[in-house]
Each structure stands twice: as structure tokens, then as C-alpha cells.
């Protein structure tokens, strides 16, 4: 069975903490994501996302604090702006923009984090493996 590979960029303060909380609460979710911890979601550069896809990621998750809650004041708003541009870029490269997700998870939302990874894994399974330059 096809198992999608997901790279997850998680901000230290909210979404990484949410992933930890999913653990302490023993909420199960698929093991497809590999997390990379960044201090703020705004550290994620479009290049990091594109490189992940070029290197064979089937999906990329960027997760940060809810709007207004970014530990660095407004980093996540800037992430959101970049995300909108990135989706357009992906389309130009022929990558289905559904392969990239931006989600907000507070440090109290372990359940939401697990649900996001679960949904994303399911969706990527229906999309199938990424095929660069082949109309994906």
C-alpha cells in the first residue's frame, strides 16, 4: 500500500507543543510525517517547501500558532501571505496545491494536530505519489 511521505515544519511554541500534547494524550495518528522544528512558522522559506517536493515529499505541512497568538507577534500572518504565493507557485510547477497545507494548532490542540496529520495523510493517499513535471 502506498504510504505518502510528509514533511512537517512545526513552530516551536504552538504546533510543536500541540504535537507533544497529542503524544502525552496518546492520540494515535498515521506515522507518515517527519517533523522539522523551527522557532516560528515564519522561518519557513518557499525554498524549503519547494526543495521538499523536489526531493520527493508527497506533501508538506506548515503548522503555526493561531492568528494573533504567534510567539513573535505577527510571524504567522507573514507565513500566511507566503503560503498564498506558494500555492500559486506550486500550481505553476504542476504540483497540486492540496499537497501543501498551512494549519494553526495551539499548544492545547493535540487532538487537532493529530486530526490534521490524519486528514492530510488520507488526502495524499487519494492524490497518489507526487510525479514532478508529469502534471501533478
Amino acid at each position: 500500500m502506498y504510504e505518502p511521505k510528509i514533511i512537517g515544519f512545526l513552530c516551536n511554541w504552538c504546533s510543536y507543543a500541540a504535537a507533544d500534547l497529542a503524544g502525552t494524550s496518546r492520540i494515535q495518528y498515521p506515522s507518515n510525517m517527519r517533523a522539522i522544528r523551527v522557532m516560528c512558522s515564519s522561518r519557513v522559506d518557499p525554498e524549503h517547501v519547494l526543495r521538499a517536493f523536489v526531493n520527493g515529499a508527497d506533501g508538506v505541512l506548515i503548522a503555526g500558532c493561531h492568528p494573533g497568538d504567534c510567539h513573535y507577534i505577527s510571524g504567522n500572518y507573514k507565513t500566511e501571505r507566503k503560503y498564498v504565493l506558494l500555492r500559486e507557485m506550486l500550481e505553476q510547477f504542476g504540483i497540486d496545491p492540496r499537497r501543501l497545507r498551512l494549519e494553526w494548532c495551539s499548544s492545547a490542540e493535540g487532538g487537532k494536530f493529530a486530526q490534521v496529520v490524519t486528514e492530510m495523510t488520507e488526502e495524499l493517499k487519494t492524490l497518489g505519489p507526487i510525479e514532478l513535471g508529469a502534471g501533478d
Binding site: I36, D45, A52
Partner: protein, 660 residues
């Protein structure tokens, strides 16, 4: 980096069975051994135990390790522990990387094979990153051994006294002309019914005369910059137009002043003049002129106060004063604002004279209040015989924008109903409540005593209040315990208004870079373990600005905040986090995108000999990395999270063959 090949030690933890029951730890450790640069790879039962840490330290010495990877729990849990382990053994703590195979692996997956595969991938990603890490030095910065307390309510008063008594120079900045906050307005306090000002005013006086305290009232915080140990705060104090040393409190000025205004301290139930003293026990204890309403200041010409003052205390030449304070720690104690009951239209506050708030009640019942402590119907001055209290006004009410419980209003109502019972033994007293909440020492007992004294508690929140021609109030409510519909005609209704974050809090929070919780109050660093700290190092928290609470809890939290601040201020220097931005001036084209995106003003484009170049203000930088992600030239990076390091993790995750 043409340094020699790194020598990496990898430690994979069983965490008892927490990891070991799901992840094949031995297989992961064996796998790690095959990764480039790894010279030792071990499993251990509890890596964080003394034994586990010692084994890492021995390897650092015996195998001359230059990098360490620990695969165990979350770095948020034990990252600091292992950084210290490395440091103690002489390895720069930033040459360490942690892999989370517990919270984010063994605890969330059941399939052993998949979990083990994931753990191997995560270890490989960490090895890829750790190879590229660079030693970072924590800069030291001298600690300015003074503290600033913002807000002079009971929370601020107690934290300032604790600090000052510990020998720490403390500034207290209060927005209003006097300290005291809401507690100064209360008549008595639950559950013991002590007189509020009797217990507070001696402490207020202490603030005014303490050798280590400098009190700045009637002042606003204009700007705050800096970091733990070294904040610069600009404070602007408004002119009072009265010379403190000369004012003898005779009050002749106020007698002569032609301008009469609602007295805020008495909730507008009394009048004051444009030259006034906020309340008799005010600290500092001297008059001031309300510039917004003074006839001379707004229109010119009056000066009756000045002409009549026997002590030459009036000085219309006074101007605002701006000061710079240098402090090492800040305690935020700006309290709450009472819910604005006029918002709740269905209860008619502001339209029906006999509907009052709980804070109005405190002033009615106070000996200094409008009726010298006699509670009357505002419409006709008659003693009320049928009184109702409505709970949860503006609390636990999503429509009114607050889902939280304000915690003190149930007890405040029991207190007020008990005081009414003493004054009017035959009056009918009803409390309309949703749930009575009395958690606190002596609270439930106090409440039960109220019931015994014939206060009637009705479960059910009235939908609306109607008024008849005689200003009597008609309340229809359902008693949800009995299912009966109750109709009551009352003389007086008291709304138990909830506590809200002060309106100006948003601005202050922004100046301090503090986060707020969804309820609008300031967010603490940890809801259980760090209730008096904020997410910003060096900034502490106490009282209702964190969340509604009563006086005992406020005072306790003030002790906590003061202790945390004192712990910082008694150090000579503190270490600054080195995870910060750095600019490669050769690549920088001076476009300014980084500066535009930085929320801390920590990166600035400046003129240099090579043209316009970005420069990081190290002490202001928080290390978020938005500058690095915005730079079109890749000229800015954030140490410990460089592009190279992040991309190495990405590649290692996806292409095991080409890892490092």
C-alpha cells in the same frame, strides 16, 4: 567549513517502556552506527538519569566527540538537560540535537515496524543537521538591578513592597492619580468582611514612603525596549498643576472651583470638582487639576483655585514630564475593568435608576459614599425592601464576548447580600444565579451562612427587566430547579458584573510583546507551572491582568512574581540566547525587506562603506527567522536554524541514500 569530519555520538533512549515497547531501540541504535560521522551509538534505559548523562559525558571525553544526538523525549522536555550535559563535559551545548521519538513517535503510533522506521528517519535527519551545527556562545549582559511595576492596584502594591523590602530599587508606574486600584473602592471584603481600605491604605502609605520605591502616578508607559536584565522604559507623567510640597489638603481650591463633575472613584454617584483629590486616603496625598475640565486650562481666565490657595500650591506652568527608566525586570499588574453593564440592554442599566452594578453597590454601602453608607433606591432615596442580585452579567455569556467565569462575582454578591441583610433584617433578598461558585478558604461556609440568614437563591438567569411608572423593577425568571416561572417586583436590582481585561491592555501587550489568551487577559508562560511569568523573559505577571481572581490569590501571585523578578535581579549578569539572526554583508543588497518584516526592530538597513547593508541589533533579536525567510538574497540567516541545516533535514528525511 573545511573542518575535520565531525565525531558524533548517538544515544537512543528506551525511556523504560515508553519508547522501548513500540520502537525497536536496538535496531535504531544499530542503524545510527552506520550513519556518516557517527563514532558511538548506544541505547540506554533512561538517558536523562545520572547514569545516562554520565555515559554521554564519558564518551565526549574518551571518544573525543564533537557532536551529540539524543533520541528520546521532546526537546521541550529535556533539551536543556542534555545541553547542560554536553556543556559540563566541555562540548559547546549548541553542538547537540535532540530527536523526539516519544511524544511524536512511540506514544502516537502502535505499528512497531512503522514507528521504528520513523525513528530511524528522525535520527538520520538529526545526524544530518548536527553535522552542520556550529558552536554558539551565549553573550553575557549585565543586569540592571532595578524593577518596574506597572499598575498600582493591590497586585502592584504587594509585588513592589516585596521587592523593595528585599532591597531592590523599584519603580511603580500608575496611570491614575492615586494607587489603590479597585480594592480601594471596595467597602468590605469577603469572606471575613474586613474593611477594604483599612487593610489596604497602610500598604499604600508604605509605597509612598519606602526608601527603595519611587512612585510615578498619573503617568503612562510610552515605550519599552530592551530585554531581560536591561529594559529601557519611557514614562510620561501628566501635570497635576499642584505643588506637592505646598499642598496642605485644606480643600479651599475645590470649594472655590466652579466646575462640578461626576466623581469616578464613587462611580459617578457623587460629584467632584475640577481640582480634587481622588479619595481621602489617596497616595500620593495631594490635590490635582483635571486638565480636561479645568475652566482656566480649557478656556482661560478662571484661576479661582490659584487665587484662593493659602499655600501657593497651584502651578499652571507645570508641564508633562518624560523620564527614562532603566530596569532589569518588569511586573505587569494592570488589573481589570468592570464589564460595561450598559451593553446588556435587556437589564436596563443606565436607563432604569434602580438597576445598579456590584461596584456601584460597593460605593453606596461605603461610609464615604454618596449616602454615607445607607443603601437606598436611587430613584427616590427610600430604603429598599425587595432586592435582587443577577449573577454572571457579562460573564459565561458568549454573546457578550466572555465565555469564562469571572470567579469573584458569586462571592462578591454573597458579601453584598450579607451586608444588606445586616442593614435591613426584614428585607427580601433574591439572588438569581447560574451556578454558585465558592471555591476558596471559608467561602462555602460564608455562602451557607447567607442561606441561613434567609437570602433566597434562585437558579435561573432572568431574560430581561421591566420597569413600572414608580421605577419598580419587574423580573420574570424560571427557577430551573423547580421548573416554576417566578415573577418578582423589586425595589433594587444589583448586576453582578464580570471582570474584563482593561481596554488599553492591547497597547501595553504590544509594547511588551506579550501574548494574550483568547479571553483577552495576558497569557502566562505556563498555565500550571509558571503562572507569574510571561513568554517574554524578564517580564512577570500578577493579579487580574492574568485572569480574574480575588485579593488573596492576587497577593499570593504578587509574591510569586516578586520572587521570580528578584531571582533575576540578584544576578550580576544573565546569558542571552544566541539563536539570532546574522547578515552576510557581501550578499546583502540593502533592499530592506528584512527590516520591514521584523516585529522587533531588530534588523536595520544602515549606510556602510559598502553601501546600504542590513545589520542585526543582537540584543533585540528574538530569533524568529522571518527576516531569513524574507531575504531575496539569502543574506540573512538565523543561527542554529540556517537554510543549510533545515535543508539537510529535508533531504535526509526524503533521500536516505544521499543524506549527509
Amino acid at each position: 567549513m573545511s573542518k575535520s569530519e565531525p565525531r558524533i555520538g548517538v544515544y537512543v533512549c528506551h525511556c523504560g517502556l515508553n519508547i522501548g515497547a513500540v520502537v525497536d531501540v536496538a535496531a535504531v541504535a544499530q542503524y545510527a552506527q552506520t550513519l556518516p560521522g557517527v563514532v558511538v551509538s548506544r541505547e540506554s534505559t533512561y538517558t536523562c538519569s545520572d547514569n545516562g548523562q554520565r555515559s554521554i559525558q564519558e564518551d565526549i571525553e574518551n571518544h573525543n566527540l564533537s557532536r551529540v544526538v539524543v533520541a528520546s523525549c521532546s526537546p521541550r522536555m529535556h533539551g536543556d538537560t542534555f545541553m547542560k550535559t554536553c556543556e559540563t563535559a566541555g562540548l559547546n551545548p549548541y553542538l547537540f540535537e535532540m530527536v523526539n521519538i516519544r511524544e511524536q513517535c512511540s506514544w502516537v503510533h502502535t505499528d512497531k515496524e512503522q514507528a521504528t522506521e520513523k525513528a530511524k528517519d528522525l535520527v538520520r535527519m538529526a545526524v544530518a543537521k548536527v553535522r552542520l551545527l556550529e558552536p554558539l556562545e551565549k553573550q553575557k549582559s549585565a543586569v540592571n538591578k532595578a524593577a518596574l511595576v506597572i499598575g498600582g492596584g493591590v497586585a502592584g502594591i504587594f509585588s513592589a513592597l516585596y521587592l523593595a523590602n528585599a532591597g531592590i530599587k523599584t519603580y511603580v508606574v500608575e496611570k491614575k492619580p492615586s494607587i489603590g486600584g479597585h480594592m480601594a473602592q471596595l467597602d468590605k471584603t469577603f469572606p471575613t468582611l474586613d474593611c477594604s481600605l483599612c487593610i489596604l491604605s497602610p500598604r499604600m502609605a508604605d509605597i509612598g514612603k519606602h526608601e527603595n520605591i519611587e512612585l510615578i502616578t498619573y503617568a503612562d508607559i510610552e515605550n519599552i525596549s530592551g530585554y531581560a536584565g536591561n529594559f529601557q522604559v519611557t514614562v510620561k507623567s501628566n501635570p497635576r498643576y499642584v505643588i506637592k510640597e505646598n499642598c496642605r489638603l485644606c480643600g479651599v481650591c475645590a470649594e472655590k472651583c466652579p466646575i462640578s463633575l461626576p466623581d469616578e472613584f464613587n462611580m459617578g454617584l457623587k460629584k467632584r470638582k475640577a481640582v480634587y483629590i481622588p479619595f481621602p486616603q489617596a497616595v500620593p496625598n495631594y490635590y490635582l487639576i483635571d486638565a480636561g475640565h479645568c475652566l482656566h486650562i480649557t478656556k482661560g481666565g478662571c484661576m479661582l483655585c490659584q487665587k484662593n490657595c493659602p499655600n501657593d500650591a497651584i502651578d499652571f506652568e507645570e508641564t508633562e514630564a518624560v523620564r527614562e527608566l532603566n530596569v532589569g525586570a518588569i511586573i505587569v499588574a494592570t488589573g481589570f475593568e468592570l464589564y460595561d453593564a450598559t451593553q446588556k440592554k435587556e437589564y436596563g442599566y443606565g436607563r432604569y435608576p434602580n438597576v445598579i452594578t456590584n461596584m456601584d453597590f460597593e460605593r453606596w454601602v461605603s461610609a464615604d459614599g454618596p449616602t454615607h453608607g445607607k443603601v437606598v433606591r436611587p430613584s427616590d432615596g427610600a430604603p429598599p425592601q425587595r432586592i435582587g442580585f443577577i449573577q454572571c452579567v457579562g460573564s459565561r455569556d458568549e454573546k457578550e464576548g466572555a465565555v469564562y467565569c469571572s470567579r469573584i462575582c458569586c462571592m462578591a454578591t454573597v458579601k453584598q447580600a450579607t451586608m444588606l441583610r445586616e442593614k435591613y433584617p426584614s428585607a427580601e433578598i433574591y439572588v438569581y444565579y447560574t451556578d454558585m461558585r465558592t471555591p476558596g478558604k471559608g467561602f462555602e461556609e460564608f455562602y451557607q451562612r447567607g442561606r441561613e440568614h434567609g437570602i433566597v437563591f434562585i437558579r435561573g438567569k432572568p431574560g430581561e427587566i421591566e420597569e413600572d411608572d414608580n421605577h419598580n423593577l419587574l423580573i420574570v425568571s424560571e427557577d430551573t430547579d423547580s421548573g416554576l416561572i417566578l415573577r418578582n417586583t423589586l425595589d433594587l436590582v444589583v448586576l453582578a458584573c464580570g471582570l474584563r481585561p482593561p481596554e488599553a491592555l492591547e497597547e501595553l501587550a504590544q509594547k511588551l510583546h506579550l501574548s494574550r489568551s483568547p479571553d483577552g487577559f495576558i497569557m502566562e508562560a505556563h498555565p500550571k507551572l509558571r503562572p507569574a511569568e510571561t513568554s517574554i523573559s524578564g517580564v512577570f505577571l500578577t493579579g487580574c491582568v492574568q485572569f480574574p481572581k480575588d485579593i488573596p490569590d492576587t497577593v499570593a501571585q504578587s509574591g510569586g512574581a516578586a520572587a521570580m523578578a528578584a531571582a533575576l535581579l540578584t544576578k550580576d549578569e544573565i546569558e542571552l540566547e544566541p539563536v539570532r539572526a546574522a547578515v552576510d554583508e557581501e550578499l546583502c543588497i540593502g533592499c530592506g525587506l528584512c527590516e520591514e518584516n521584523c516585529d522587533y526592530g531588530a534588523i536595520e538597513v544602515k549606510k556602510t562603506e559598502e553601501g546600504m547593508k542590513a545589520q542585526v541589533i543582537e540584543v533585540a533579536c528574538q530569533g524568529c527567522g522571518v527576516c531569513a525567510a524574507s531575504c531575496p538574497q539569502k543574506a540573512v540567516t538565523v543561527r542554529h536554524f540556517t537554510d543549510g541545516q533545515l535543508l539537510a533535514q529535508v533531504t535526509a528525511a526524503l533521500e536516505p541514500e544521499v543524506i549527509v
